[in-house]
């Protein structure tokens, strides 16, 4: 029987975990950026009720929110190679599935999932902006695209930012699922270290602390960003809302 908590081993895991941090952050950053773009597109489809697409968007959002992340990761991991292989045969596309790194499937899976949630956040934020803002933009001659880009979306961002922050934090934690298809991010690294040292509790405490630290930093960044994008609201507006 050894010690209750092997402090030297616990401390020794941090350098290795730190090496996996960039992988976690990379998945988070790529998935979040792609999800923002895709989520905005889906939100606009639903707001403007683009014929044909609006039903597809509704089904997509419902499916992505109604199935587990882990299942979606497996669907991407097994489904995308099937699709690529099929296209390869049909069209002679020069794509070799085995050349695609596993992390690419993770990007797809997380974007698929997070974009659905973000589309709802973005839709609600846009719809929270007074119609008069767009009308004012149109009345001076701006196109609705311009009005959206320069007037409505900046205001919607201020509304949605806290929610975006929550989504990023949830995403950071969800990236721990990536090891299920053998992408070695922090959680994967922790499992490897635990197996190597035969001390799992210490390494999981260590990895928990690293996740926590990352999330604290993100919270701070979001709070600072919020100050920035909300500066136009002033004291009066805050009291109103």
């Amino acid at each position: 029987m050894g010690t209750l908590f092997d402090v030297p081993f616990f401390l020794s895991t941090f350098p290795d975990l730190a090496r996996a941090v960039p992988v976690t952050l990379k998945i988070t950053a790529v998935a979040m950026a792609a999800s923002l773009a895709a989520g905005l597109a889906v939100a606009l489809v639903r707001i403007y009720r683009v014929p044909g697409l609006v039903q597809a968007a509704a089904v997509y959002v419902s499916f992505a929110r109604g199935t587990p992340m882990l299942v979606q990761i497996y669907l991407a991991y097994y489904g995308i190679p099937l699709l690529v292989g099929f296209l390869h045969e049909q069209h002679g596309w020069n794509l070799d599935v085995s050349q695609i790194p596993a992390i690419v499937f993770i990007y797809f899976a997380f974007t698929f999932n997070v974009a659905a949630y973000l589309s709802e956040t973005i839709r609600a934020a846009i719809q929270a902006i007074d119609r008069g803002q767009m009308e004012a933009a149109l009345s001076v001659g701006m196109s609705s695209l311009r009005g959206m880009q320069r007037i409505v979306l900046p205001q919607a961002l201020a509304v949605a930012l806290p929610s975006f922050g929550n989504t990023v934090i949830a995403l950071v934690k969800d990236t721990s699922l990536a090891f299920m298809i053998s992408v070695v991010e922090m959680m994967g690294e922790a499992k490897i270290l635990g197996a190597r040292g035969l001390r799992f509790f210490e390494v999981y405490v260590a990895v928990a602390l690293v996740y926590w630290a990352i999330c604290i930093v993100i919270e701070r960044l979001v709070a600072a960003g919020e100050q920035r994008v909300r500066r136009f609201e002033g004291r009066l507006a805050v009291r109103e809302s």
């Binding site: 007074d130 008069g132 009345s139 001076v140 001659g141 311009r146 205001q155 609201e233 507006a237």
Partner: protein
């Protein structure tokens, strides 16, 4: 010159405009009067194409738009010739006063930033806000916001500025300041169509007054003609009501309940218990505040 011919607009089954004809000469100020729901605001919004008229033509300067067959480019062109001043100001909340005025100059007129800034500064100084360039709307009072709204509209140098009840949301003590700004614009020869309940403004500034009710222009003429030599009973009733109760000019004139009068009767004289004229069908919905 602005010319509206036979403009029709319905929201679902509610026919709001029923063949409006209106001619506004360059430099004229036209005040639209009428009870709430008479279609005044809708008419303004159709001119700015915030609402699409169902049919009729809108001519502004050399541009004629047939509402029934309007093209995207025509809407864009029409909007560049018109700007709107809104009842609720609708300043861009994410932009400072100066940025509000500059926005259209930059994105629509494509002016270089420096020129847009100069023009924005000039416009704001003209409405008496030379010391509020960098305030956000949330930091301005209602009267100040509305003056920014007017500065934003006039900086675009449109052929006409449409005022949709510009002082209705304002505290009484700041209404005068906003009206002064509008009078200044009128003196400079800006063409203006103004929906307002400020009778003093109408008498003093308007070249033409048009009284609207139930989607039609009931009576039109100089302020003298409309206010002093009122020809239509409906106009007379409205003016009486406004003068009796100026705090609530928007209140619906009493209307007989649906079915109580034959279709076509709109204005109802509660004193004598008779309907006074038969120009237009009864409204689709009886007024909510039927006594």
């Amino acid at each position: 010159m602005i010319e509206l011919r036979n403009l029709w607009k319905a929201f679902h089954h509610n026919q709001v405009l029923k063949g409006i004809d209106l001619v506004v000469r360059k430099g004229e100020v036209v005040v639209l009067l009428g009870p709430s729901g008479s279609g005044k605001s809708t008419l303004l919004r159709c001119i700015n194409y915030l609402e699409r008229a169902d049919r009729g033509t809108i001519r502004i300067g050399d541009l004629t738009v047939d509402a029934a067959a309007v093209r995207r480019a025509q809407i864009a062109a029409l909007r560049r010739k018109t700007t709107m001043v809104f009842q609720n100001y609708n300043l861009f909340r994410n932009k400072t006063a100066l940025e509000n005025v500059m926005e259209g100059l930059l994105t629509v007129k494509g002016l270089p930033a420096r020129e847009a800034r100069d023009r924005g500064v000039l416009s704001l100084e003209k409405v008496g806000l030379g010391d509020r360039f960098h305030h956000y709307p949330s930091q301005l009072s209602g009267g100040q916001q509305q003056r920014v709204g007017i500065a934003r509209a006039m900086a675009m140098e449109p052929e006409v500025i449409l005022f949709d009840e510009p002082t209705s949301s304002l505290d009484p003590e700041v209404v005068g300041g906003v009206l002064e700004v509008m009078k200044g614009l009128a003196r400079e020869g800006m063409t203006m169509i103004v929906v307002t309940h400020e009778m003093g403004f109408a008498r003093e500034v308007a070249d033409q007054v048009a009284f609207m009710d139930a989607g039609v222009v009931v009576e039109q003429g100089t302020p003298d003609q409309v206010f002093e030599q009122t020809r239509q009973e409906r106009t007379r009733l409205f003016l009486q009501r406004v003068q009796r109760n100026p705090s609530q000019p928007d209140a619906q004139p009493p209307t007989p309940p649906a079915g109580a009068a034959s279709p076509g009767f709109r204005a109802w004289d509660p004193a004598s218990g008779t309907c006074s004229c038969a120009r237009s069908p009864a409204p689709a919905d009886p007024p909510a505040a039927w006594p």
